[in-house]
Subunit: 245 residues, 2 copies
């Protein structure tokens, strides 16, 4: 039997989703709680790796459990949450067909990036936003997003250390909006390269500051050179927001 | 010269505003940053004591500094924030007349109490709300608030350990509202007794659950017996929200 879970987590204290040596992952933490509830150790499959310090509002994962387990799906979140620390929460659980795969079956994923754009920091948003004091030009950033929408080779927007060979991805939508002193960036694609969202966000900020000209973006994409793109924005502003199957 | 400061803080790691032995207070933390900026140790006066774990969105305090200090008021927040930890932020600073007193001059104060009223916990609201899973009856709670508005002796709504003699206070407004899965309680008064807001909130929750009947509230106030009122709601949902001079 396979269970599909939607979870939310504050990634501040974790090395990301995936199990790693000498660091605590969300996957391991959730596997511990599954072991406490179901009495056996099962391996979880996630929809994505997330980096250290990155958050998730709706992350999807699945687990195959013994066929004789007999817990109604609606009781599973409360049972697992009982054993989970405060920074990880199971939002929803359902039984699903055995051939479901959280990563391969995803049509697209949406990430959200939150910037506190204010000279004054907010003690209630520590580790939950990127605090950037200099006033951002949201109109200019929005114009820049247009250059990225559609199918492109995003090799220039990938950090080294990834073994991915095909660096072509299709961005479905990419928007920047302002809500009082919060600038919110939403980007959806069929897949993302290592650090891709954070480099796209850094590039938009560099556009706002005049370090990168909008008209140069097509050639930055073309040249496939990481050094030509913007800086890598820090992880604490980034949220895996949505996954669509 | 006297400086008036408005600050915000996440109270999770603090013993409250006031300096205490063997515990870290917000007052001491802010005095440290003032010493770093102004080169001397000055004593701060706050508008209120807050309990351990209680937050503030706009807390007012003042400090008298040497007359030869010459920093423009608008530079003070950024200078102090540079030395403050992430959970305390100076929002505003202004020079003010020497006879200003943050506590005695206040006309009224408003507290806000946030309840996450959902079966599922939210990892992004840890230590920032009281997580209460059972569905609350907001209409009933709102009806109950009416019994408290106006001038009353609130002795039944004060924890022991306070040396206050006059327990008469005037509540200006007291409302309960629902915003998706957050129940927000706002209460303003000319002053509050020790734990008064948290006991009022616990009483409203007991009303919602049928443990306390609305028609019994006038006699609970009358009897001045702490044991007759509701439980003390936990500190993490409470915010000093506003202070009006």
């Amino acid at each position: 039997m396979k269970i599909k879970l939607y979870i939310a987590y504050d990634g501040t204290k974790y090395c990301g989703w995936q199990v790693q040596k000498n660091a605590i992952s969300v996957q391991q933490t959730l596997q511990d709680s599954i072991e406490s509830v179901f009495g056996e150790r099962y391996l979880l499959t996630g929809c994505s790796r997330t980096d250290s310090g990155v958050h998730a509002k709706r992350f999807c994962c699945s687990v195959s459990i013994a066929d004789d387990v007999n817990i109604p799906a609606e009781k599973i979140p409360i049972a697992l949450n009982h054993y989970l620390p405060d920074d990880v929460s199971v939002l929803e659980a359902s039984y699903i067909s055995d051939d479901f795969h959280p990563r391969y079956d995803a049509k697209y994923k949406e990430y959200e990036y939150l910037i506190l754009n204010d000279t004054i920091k907010d003690p209630f948003l520590t580790n939950k936003v990127f605090h950037y004091p200099k006033k951002l030009d949201v109109d200019k950033m929005n114009m820049a997003t247009k250059c990225f929408i559609g199918k492109h080779d995003f090799a220039a927007f990938m950090s080294s250390g990834s073994s991915v060979e095909d660096t072509v991805r299709t961005i479905k939508y990419f928007t920047v909006s302002e809500h009082e002193n919060i600038v919110k960036i939403n980007v959806a694609a069929d897949g993302f390269l290592y650090n891709m969202v954070r480099i796209l966000v850094g590039t938009l900020i560099d556009v706002s500051n005049g370090k990168i000209a909008i008209e140069d973006i097509p050639s930055i994409i073309e040249q496939k050179d990481r050094k030509k793109a913007g800086f890598t924005a820090p992880p604490q502003g980034l949220y895996l927001n949505k996954i669509v199957y």
